[in-house]
Symmetry: C2
């Protein structure tokens, strides 16, 4: 999966992100100052002064990346001012820029230092995702771009864009413009135009982030029905239509024709080799009430088992995707209903108790499917106190299975569902809570098993996110006031 992405971008990128050997002939007061924890880091007290006026990033002669690599050049541009806050001029050196930026510090006189540090680094999991839900509340474009910035600082590499759902359809389709003009909260202000989408993809790419689009069906599609009459199943009350609608109508061939055209567009707009088809939480009540659907069930020999109808629908969807040369990711429901799907389909675990999750991991990987773990990281579920510990101590590979099965767990995802989240609270809810999952997905589990050791590092890292303006303090009447006090510093007995 990772390989496919890489082929989408440029070779230098792989060299830079996936395997970094930093051997810097300079070096740290703050040992272990990098978040997420590198696979290997050792530092000495010997420190070297950095002169911003003379500091340059440069390509190593032995590197496969050479001058002109646009991803690296652009990263150099971004990181120079993050490292040297007072200076503008900058050039190159092949390193993990995010890790490096976290090693540079200033003394009281404003001089920049880095301690002699050796870092060897690569991610533990290839899929490290953040889901944003832009249907339940619309998120302005800049909120998405800012989240991408924050993701890169946390070494997340997949933006899972849950772009449409029941409440609204903000994706402005060129093939079916009515979907957003009738299904968005507002047809002009609460939509993502084709240009917006391109901007998100470009912004993400430069930060080493893939954009995984989800167009969830057959459930979660109420907003689709507004702009595409005939797509959803009319629900019946007795022998007459009730006026409400259920999931996509799986009995009509027109539904699949529509989906083929829509996904042809979607898979062309979103260049990633994967596409998310959803497939979760299909309520059978409406299907059961509809005489046409019942007739179709009979004709297909499904009896009264509506999971077979759902399977039939999802199999069609996966085949459509396949025909477009994309690989499907689907929610776990699709596996739970024993649907016949290609073995390269990726299953996405989103529900269950810890025990049920372990069981699901075992079953899915035993069946040979790859899996992404989201259930433990439903970060929209807020709670009082330091719940980052809960996200930090998840052990994604702690389930019964062979070594081969474990390799099928390709990663995890932090989900920020949008019921109660919009641009007013997204950022303080996401960071640094998601950073806990970020380290779990990037770093070696044994090196990062202690919540107590992680705490001061996370406190430092949160201050960095404040300095990077990922988390923003309440603006004053004129502009901003920088403020790097910690979320966690002062905990006393609660009143």
């Amino acid at each position: 999966m990772e390989e496919k992405t890489i082929s989408n971008s440029r070779r230098c990128y792989k060299q830079w992100l996936w395997f970094m050997v930093l051997f810097m002939s300079f070096s740290v007061i703050y040992v272990d100052a990098v978040w997420p924890m590198p696979q290997m880091i050792s530092s000495s007290m010997a420190r070297y002064t950095l002169n911003p006026r003379e500091f340059i990033f440069q390509y190593s002669s032995g590197s496969s990346a050479q001058p002109g690599c646009s991803l690296l050049d652009s990263a150099f541009e971004r990181y120079y001012p993050l490292i040297f806050t007072d200076y503008r001029k900058h050039k190159c050196l092949e390193i993990s820029l995010e890790s490096f930026s976290q090693l540079v510090y200033q003394d009281d006189f404003g001089e920049y230092f880095v301690n002699e540090t050796e870092i060897e680094d690569f991610p533990r999991f290839q899929f490290r995702g953040i889901l944003l839900d832009t249907s339940r509340h619309y998120l302005p474009l800049h909120a998405i771009l800012k989240t991408l910035d924050a993701m890169s600082y946390n070494k997340f590499n997949v933006f899972h864009w849950h772009i449409v759902d029941d409440p609204s359809f903000p994706y402005q389709s060129s093939t079916f413009p009515d979907l957003s003009s009738k299904g968005a909260f507002h047809p002009l202000t609460h939509v993502y135009t084709q240009i917006d989408v391109k901007r998100v993809i470009a912004h993400a790419r430069l930060r080493g982030i893939r954009v995984l689009a989800e167009f969830d069906s057959p459930g979660h599609t109420q907003s689709w029905g507004k702009g595409q009459p005939g797509l959803l199943t009319p629900c019946y009350k007795g022998t007459v239509p009730s006026g409400t609608f259920g999931p996509v109508n799986p009995a009509n061939s027109s539904s699949y024709q529509f989906m083929t055209r829509l996904f042809k567009e979607v898979t062309s707009v979103f260049p990633d080799s994967y596409v998310h088809l959803g497939g979760d939480e299909v309520d059978f009540t409406c299907w059961k009430s509809n005489p046409d659907v019942r007739g179709f069930m009979l004709k297909m020999g499904f009896g009264t088992d509506y999971t077979k109808l759902e399977s039939y629908y999802m199999e069609n969807m996966v085949n459509i995707t396949k025909g477009l040369n994309k690989t499907a990711i689907v929610w776990q429901d699709v596996f739970d209903y024993h649907e016949k799907i290609p073995v390269d389909t990726v299953l996405h675990i989103w529900k269950g108790s810890p025990g049920q999750i372990q069981q699901e991991l075992s079953s899915i990987t035993l069946a040979g499917y790859r899996v992404i773990l989201a259930a433990p990281w439903y970060i929209n579920h807020i709670d009082y106190g330091q719940d980052w510990e809960k996200y930090y101590t998840i052990q994604p590979l702690n389930f019964t299975g062979t070594e081969q099965q474990k390799t099928l767990v390709i990663g995890g995802e932090v989900c920020m569902w949008g019921e109660y989240v919009d641009a007013t609270n997204l950022s303080p809810r996401l960071w640094p809570r998601a950073s806990a999952a970020g380290e779990r997905l990037w770093s070696d589990e044994k090196m990062t098993s202690s919540v107590i050791d992680a705490f001061p590092r996370l406190v430092d890292f949160r201050c960095r996110l404040l300095r990077y303006r990922v988390i923003v303090i309440m603006p004053n009447y004129f502009g901003y006031t920088p403020n790097v006090e910690s979320l966690f510093t002062a905990v006393t007995k609660e009143k």
Copy 2:
């Protein structure tokens, strides 16, 4: 209590805020559009156009407030641009400006309207407070000022400033500068100077808000000890001091001398006739360990009952306050320990189950004390979902007691303790959740008993808070983007 404040401000203020009869010869599409709900509101569909260029606020000839009333003049200045977002010019009319501002709306062509509306209004409770805790996390001055703005839109009238506590002492005392220079998180950046405090008080006053300062003792004083050696009780391990410190040392007369000087300053800096003395959560372990304190217990005939020692301390504190012509507010602990305190002392309920709270209300009012209810509104305790309903459905007078007892419940308070709150998340945590309590404390309970009726009004009001920039969306790369989508609009079944 209210009367004393009023005498601090100007007569016009009372006329304006405490009893408003709005009889406007104009009028509403949005009936019931005012939050919190006025005591009486009736509106017709007849609507009148407002021309911003000709609109003036003016003093009614029969009003006790006449031109030159600085509070009203200043309010006119603030509200004109809130009402007419496109215009600058403005003058006067004696009304509840906040309610009026909520009645004005624009059509699609930008014209301003108000429907014919009759409002009679006054607050149900005289004390409607918000507590901010600036010790556990420092809050920059502008975060406090912004909160005061938001309070005024919600008709809160007391800012309870829990200014110091164990973690830090940000109040910069002119008498004891070491308290902040040694006890603040940072002696220069994380303090409130005398000028800062004056600015808060002035900003509050113009918005009809009193500033109630709390200097909590004898517990919650760890930060005090840094700048005032000898104030806290040295804890002992066996026969030797352990190096740690407990509550203020109640056995030393120097403690009371210090407190007298400090409160002389505090009561002069904060002009309100009330001062909050704290008195909660005193841990006796350290007192018990200290031989001097034990000796003092013997000498005073307290036996081994340390509640008597605490009572002795608090009685001294209340007397000091009394000598400074201020009335004390204390946490309920002071009542629970049967301390001998003047009957004009106000008790502040902060703990217990609903049943315990009702019992406490009965007991305190039966003893003739006035009471403020904070326990149901610990709004820092976040939870997933629409918890505003919990704050909305509190019935402050639902306890066993005579009508006379009920009148002793002077109001309630929303507490935002600072363990996990700073300027990055204060605002979205406070609003509109605190607005639910705001309506409970202002409006008639029978008129506002339905969560279902309140919901769309609260949704509207939240949009207003967004327009007023009380809640701010994530800034884009260049500045702000206005955004008034609702927190609550779209709730679907949760993934």
